[in-house]
Symmetry: C2
């Protein structure tokens, strides 16, 4: 093993104050700061840590390829994404082999639905790694909403809205508390699934959870079907106990 | 409403560096710092923030009653716990009515299986409240283990080990990734449930996840049935994708 060090650094859900002391130290100690960005967009994680970046630190932007023309289940899409992660891992490995510490900054928590995991899987067998846990996006949402989510012996589940309507309804009915992610164009289907599971009346719709322009409303009062991909729906499980 | 302010402050899973800048500011601005503790024990959340406490700040310890002689499902147990939270809420309300800012420091995240929720439910209707999200214990565990937990369209679930064996096995088999909490004396039952769901070989047993004396081993290699109540078992859902 080289003495290079890979650090997956969670920087939280958006509010720059929801970063940990440990993440601040990692940013301060790293030789290289790497960050993912959608093609042609600013990196969200970089925006979050901008006030904390050391002047003159080496940055390594990792720009996702443009894949909008490819169906997500196609082999071409998979190959483009695999090639992207292979290339990103190679760029990081070059720094690690030169014994540098590379911090990959990640929105939310690095190992919970994070892109960082693809780099970790490629590099952890060859280099020392460390993870700095981060506040998840969902935790930012229920905190901003002041919404107790789960308590005691509650079963809590996280579901992607991409699931078929029947499966969403079944899984929602089977859990005490739930967070549904990746809403986007799946909102009408999710609304029907929540009606079937009897939970529509307590579901809360959240957009941009920890931003200053956050929007939180009971889903039942939302009149349109417009929702960004990163909107979430919270189904709180907890009622006041003893 | 009085101008008193109640702040539920997540202080993370144990590592004093896994506290956020926002929590630090809340500690610094609060007139009163309240913390829960088991009877006769030091408050865990207070231990975590001890290096960050302002000298001379007013503290309000909230000591759980001794209930070891009462069955958890009994009316007497429920009444003792309810009386305790009523009393704790009243003590905090006295400070809030005097227009003080009261920070209740909480291990992990205040609204995710946290005792703070019982105070929030009692006080939020009468006073301004704010939540500072914290790193959850489970996130601390999978980060310390360097264990990618969920990715893409994975269904992720949190289960209490108190559930019956058949229900544990069914729910484990139905999820892509899982965290099982409250292990303690339920470990043999959980082991059988994981064997039934076909997941025993990938389950990781974690004790004291973010402490310096953390213990993490594949559950299949654990020879004894000893487990503290706060041990967790991680069932990672993610395999290397593209």
């Amino acid at each position: 093993m080289s003495t290079g060090r890979l650090i997956g650094v969670g920087v939280g859900p958006g509010d720059p104050e929801l970063i940990t002391l440990k993440a601040m130290r990692a940013l301060n100690e790293a030789d290289v700061i790497a960050h993912f960005a959608k093609a042609g967009r600013q990196s969200q994680s970089r925006t979050i840590v901008a006030p904390h970046l050391r002047a003159g630190v080496t940055e390594l932007p990792l720009q996702f390829p443009v894949t909008t023309e490819l169906p997500k289940c196609s082999n071409d899409y998979r190959a483009a994404i695999r090639d992207f992660y292979d290339g990103a891992a190679a760029a990081i490995a070059a720094h690690l082999s030169a014994e540098r510490a590379v911090a990959v900054i990640c929105e939310g928590d690095p190992l919970f639905y994070g892109s960082y995991m693809h780099l970790h899987a490629r590099l952890a067998p060859r280099f020392a790694t460390e993870i700095v846990a981060g506040i998840t996006g969902m935790s930012g949402c229920w905190s901003a909403a002041g919404m107790p989510i789960a308590q005691g012996d509650d079963v809590f589940t996280v579901l992607p809205a991409t699931l078929p309507e029947g499966e969403l309804a079944r899984r929602l009915a089977d859990a005490d508390a739930a967070v549904v992610m990746k809403i986007g164009r799946h909102l009408p289907k999710l609304r029907r699934a929540l009606a079937r599971s009897g939970q529509l009346d307590r579901a809360i719709y959240v957009e941009r959870g920890t931003m200053t322009d956050a929007k939180m409303i009971p889903l039942a009062t939302k009149r349109d079907d417009d929702a960004p991909y990163f909107a979430v729906v919270l189904v709180p499980g907890w009622e006041q106990r003893p």
